[in-house]
């Protein structure tokens, strides 16, 4: 009895999911067409051209601190009063994190516009 009920419930849920999904699911060919379109390629390139160099930069700035502190003594000297250079470098890392976050949020907003344009085109069926 209960198993039948579950099976029936399951079918109803799947049907309703398909009905919702039907409005915005895209075919495999559409995805291939989008991925090969010049606007998508441009967006993808712009995104990677931003993300990759920025990521390399923050990794380099980050790992330089433990490298310098573990294998050299350049950060051991006093910078201001008793504050040593390693604290100053740490502050630079904090400021970097906040700055890079602001830069990302700004930059991503410009990517959003291009992405929305592609999505709107896709929803209008122009990649079929």
């Amino acid at each position: 009895m209960e198993q039948n009920l579950d099976r029936q419930l399951l079918k109803e849920e799947q049907d309703s999911k398909q009905a919702v999904a039907g409005q915005k699911s895209f075919t495999e060919q559409e995805y291939v067409n989008i991925s090969e379109s010049s606007e998508f390629k441009t967006l993808s390139k712009r995104k990677l051209g931003f993300i990759v160099p920025m990521s390399v930069l923050f990794f380099v700035i980050y790992f330089t601190l433990p490298l310098l502190s573990s294998f050299t003594d350049v950060l051991d000297g006093k910078a201001i009063g008793d504050i040593t250079w390693i604290w100053v470098y740490s502050l630079v890392i904090f400021i970097m994190v906040w700055t890079f976050t602001i830069i990302y949020v700004k930059k991503a907003a410009s990517f959003d516009k291009d992405a929305e344009a592609i999505n709107d085109k896709a929803k209008a069926g122009e990649y079929k």
Binding site: E28, S35, S55, S70, D82, I93, F100
Partner: protein, 515 residues
Amino acid sequence: MSVIGISFFVAIVGLTLFVTYLASKKNNSAADFYTAGGGLTGWQNGIAIAGDYLSAASFLGIAGAIALFGFDGFFYSLGYLVAYLVVLYIVAEPLRNLGKFTLADMITARFNQKKIRATAAVSSIVIVLFYMIAQLVGAGALIQLLLGIDYKYAVILVGIMMTIYVLWGGMGATSWVQIIKAVLLMIGTVIISVLVLAKFNFNILEMFATVSETNGNGGAYLQAGLKYTNGIDTMSMMIALVLGTAGLPHILMRFFTVKDAKTARSSINWATWIVGLFYILTIFLGFGAAAFVGSEKILAANPAGNMAAPLLAQALGGDILMSFISAVAFATILAVVAGLVLSGASAFAHDIYGQVIKKGNITEKQQMVAARWASVGVSVFSIILALFSQTLNVAFLVSLAFCIAASANLPVIIYTIYYKKFNTTGAMSAMLFGLISALVLVAMSPNVWAPEAGKAIFVGDPLFPLTNPAIISVPLGFLAGWIGSMIGEKANARKYAEVKVNATTGLNVSDSVDH
């Protein structure tokens, strides 16, 4: 415990239970349970993400480590904070666009195979269990000190509370408990920091000068190297800290609680400001404890230094501040473990039971039942493990969890999104090599083996010299994924087109509006 102490404690527990009651009314579907229906706003999720990092380990652990070891205590703060950039730049938005409830959802968006989902779920469960045992054992010891309850009862109390939040309130309650506690913890930290600064006439140079004179280690206290003397090991730890966050299941899960990539981005924006400010304040907590409590007293209360912040609160603000800080520390532990239970339960109930065993043929009602049973199972299992681990030194399990997350999860996440030739062989080998190498290397490390009895779990010489294996296991995970993709079958380019488009534009999750 004093009347004031008990009142703070009861007030905070009462508030979190009230929130759970409110959230329980909106906890009707699997999506509500795992992701609060994707209905959190950017600032809410941002504070909750920050809350995961304003954990007992950060608040009590880092403050204590700075108090005892000066700059070396601050390494963790740097690693955790920069980790947010990794999440923001590389992982958050594609993850939000591709996933539903779990990390495995995201990977199977590209490779819809049971073995991949099962492996991803297992690595999530392993990470969650390690993290949880470390948290529960730490929690038991701390609550014993803070509230004067026996270790066993402390662990069981925490276990019951976390199960209540998760069972009735799901992700909604867990998030709000996290938000409440994060706000209270920030208030407590700011109060103590201002009191510390006031003692130094609001002069930071005076503070540095005083701790430099009085700490007992002289100038070395303000330089690196007091605690971490092996440079390679330090690098390895820094790799695990910065890359691990982007692979931790309970952090990744937070990105499914918001509606789109834009809100995911805004969450991290909030989190970096809150956590960054908090970590700067840990310097004041640590230095304050060094100056006004003293390392002897800190070590006498707890050899790991975890009591530094509460003792400082007592020294500066008397019993009232101490009771407030203790109650908040308790709430901190509860919020973090509740999130861990949820991410463990989702890997069990959604991935392994729902998708692998039942192949997705499961009703909403059955999903909820499975999710609740899995939550109880994860809770009970980790409580039992924690009860047996009381006398073991398990603090290293947190960094092990970070290491596995960085070695087993991060390579497969990055390859799934960005690597065209990535295939199932690559995915399986990246996950298995990352997971197994991290586990095996830790099992041979000084954390587990020490020549002196009582220093580690077993007596003997460690076969592997580093306490953190990330410097080897992370490259291994990436390398295994790459080699696997080279020798395995040809990647499905059409499927990758779909993943790439969805990850980049969020087409599959964007609002369906006709223009």
